[in-house]
């Protein structure tokens, strides 16, 4: 059961991921990215992180991607034009990326052989209580600094948007 769910959603994530890269229209890419995020949320559930799965949908799919779609629609962005730079990047990039992926996979398979497995339900620390208490005790300082970062981000967005208005 675990393996079937994992395979279905891993395949979905990869297919959506390919769509993110290959679709020329930004709206299609954005929708594919939402698909990736939703599939990953299911995979988080398999890894015993229900809280993060919900937050993944809430923050990524529900807030960030809505913002992306909003901007795409606001700017009425059309399909991407072909350009010379892109062609050169593709020529140099594809071998490099394939090499990167091969090395990564090789290292992963060497470090974690088949015997190291993941069984659904054997680790259930991803509850709100556990994540929350870690967040507010061990990681209190990073948490507070993140709130500062968010504040700065809000100010930055307001300043940039304000200039744009007048």
């Amino acid at each position: 059961m675990d393996a079937i769910i994992f395979l279905i959603f891993a395949a979905a994530a990869v297919i959506f991921g390919i769509n993110v890269v290959l679709r020329t229209h930004p709206v299609s890419s954005a929708l594919a990215l939402i698909g990736v995020m939703a599939s990953l949320a299911v995979i988080y559930l398999l890894l015993g992180a229900p809280f993060l799965a919900a937050v993944q949908v809430l923050v990524y799919a529900g807030a960030i991607m809505v913002l992306f779609l909003f901007v795409i629609m606001l700017l009425n962005a059309g399909s991407e034009k072909k350009s010379r730079g892109a062609w050169m990047a593709r020529l140099a990039g594809v071998p490099l990326l394939v090499a990167l992926l091969t090395i990564l996979s090789f290292v992963i398979f060497r470090m974690y052989p088949r015997s190291v497995g993941v069984k659904f339900g054997s680790f259930a620390a991803g509850t709100v209580e556990r994540v929350g208490s870690a967040l507010f005790t061990t990681y209190l300082l990073p948490f507070e600094i993140t709130s500062l970062l968010v504040l700065i981000a809000i100010l930055g967005a307001v300043v940039l948007g304000y200039k744009e208005l007048d």
């Binding site: 229900p50 909003f70 629609m73």
Partner: protein, 396 residues
């Protein structure tokens, strides 16, 4: 019993009741708005227009399914499907009643209880905007696009006060599971006053409840926040280009969303299925008394109406009410159905408020809508949350 079989049975029951509710919610809305405007509302199809929803459904089914030229076909079809799916998913975590035992099988009147239930509902409701945004964009038309842009901005803005007001009762309940939230409200002060979060110390969540309801109006695109489909400005907003069953999908999604937010408000603030005063002090008899009173009123109307059809239909309604009153006197029946009765009554009153407001208030202007969210609702919700946190830390 087999887990899957049990789940399937529960799902079928919830779906059946929900679909019926959605159909008749639309009838109730038309009737209530009509009476607010001193009209009769649907009256021709069946007694008191009771068969009107079925006639409407048939009409929409038989209508031609138009696909305008120039639309993005895939997304155009996908959008209403998405809207209705997302609006129905949240129902799975709503607890309708306590644990019951039927023929030796013990189960909860809830499809499933997640330990992150509240976050789940928030996550799903934050996705609801996609149905609208995609519909507007895929239609490839001016007004739908404007409607969906408005909708995206509005839903992001009102999600913040909504989230903040949901957090306040969570601080008092100390859990994210909706079932446990209801159970945490199950005692009574001085034996009478219910410890619902809206009345529960250290800080009664009255403000949170009001802000939640206002934000819920905006999240469901209802008047006075129905800017995405403002017919005087945008024809019909995001669903201008939709017809037939696809239009019905959006229509149903709106009502399903209304039902979900009202049941969320019931669970979070009004104690879910719990009666407003203890059962041993007579709240078990309330359904009987209420249905009997309704029956008497209907009977009185039936006897003195000029119209012969009313004379018959009101008496049937009276008999049905008396029958229900009698049924609620049977302990075995009341045990199952009085939690459902209280849940339904609370949710129904909130739904009535939605319809009542629709018949009463005019629409906001767009800048007013945004200013209201950011400079009034958001600060109020934030201050309420901080005050609750402080008081819970001191007294809790």
């Amino acid at each position: 019993m087999n887990f899957f079989l049990l789940s399937a049975i529960k799902m079928a029951m919830v779906m059946g009741v929900l679909m019926l509710t959605l159909l008749y919610l639309q009838w109730a809305e038309r009737k209530v708005v009509a009476h607010i405007q001193v009209r009769l509302g649907p009256y021709r199809v069946g007694p008191h227009g009771l068969l009107q929803p079925i006639a409407d459904t048939l009409k929409l089914l038989l209508k031609e399914d138009l696909t305008p030229p120039g639309v993005n076909k895939g997304l155009y079809v996908f959008a209403p499907f998405l809207a209705i799916t997302l609006s129905l998913i949240s129902i799975v975590v709503i607890p309708f009643g306590p644990a019951i035992e039927v023929a030796g099988v013990q189960t909860w009147m809830q499809l499933t209880d997640l330990n992150v239930g509240v976050v789940f509902v928030l996550a799903i409701s934050s996705l609801a905007v996609y149905g609208i945004v995609l519909a507007g964009w895929a239609s490839n038309s001016k007004y739908p696009l404007l409607g969906s842009l408005r909708s995206a901005a509005q839903m992001i803005s009102y999600e913040l006060p909504l989230g903040l007001t949901i957090a306040a009762p969570l601080l008092m309940a100390n859990t994210l599971s909706l079932r446990e939230i209801v159970l945490s409200q199950s005692h009574y002060y001085w034996g009478w006053i219910p410890a619902w979060n809206v009345l529960h110390g250290p800080l009664p969540q009255v403000i949170a409840f009001v802000v939640f309801m206002i934000a819920a109006f905006a999240e469901t695109n209802r008047i006075p926040f129905d800017l995405p489909e403002a017919e005087t400005e945008l024809v019909a907003g995001f669903h201008t280009e939709y017809s037939s069953m696809k239009f019905a999908g959006f229509f149903m999604a709106e009502y399903a969303n209304m039902f979900t937010v009202c049941s969320m408000a019931t669970v979070l603030f009004l104690g879910g299925w719990l009666p407003p005063w203890p059962a041993e002090k007579g709240s078990v008899f309330f359904p009987s008394v209420m249905f009997a009173a309704a029956g008497l009123i209907a009977l009185r109307h039936g006897l003195y109406r000029a119209r012969p059809r009313d004379r018959r239909s009101f008496q049937v309604i009276a008999m049905v009410s008396f029958g229900l009153a009698a049924l609620f006197l049977i302990p075995a029946f009341a045990q199952f159905f009085s939690p459902l009765f209280w849940f339904g009554l609370k949710t129904g009153l909130l739904l009535f408020t939605f319809i009542w407001v629709r018949g009463t208030l005019p629409r906001f202007r767009y800048d007013q809508l945004m200013r209201f969210a950011w400079s009034f609702l958001f600060p109020v919700a934030a201050v309420n949350l901080m005050a609750t946190a402080l008081l819970v830390a001191i007294f809790g």
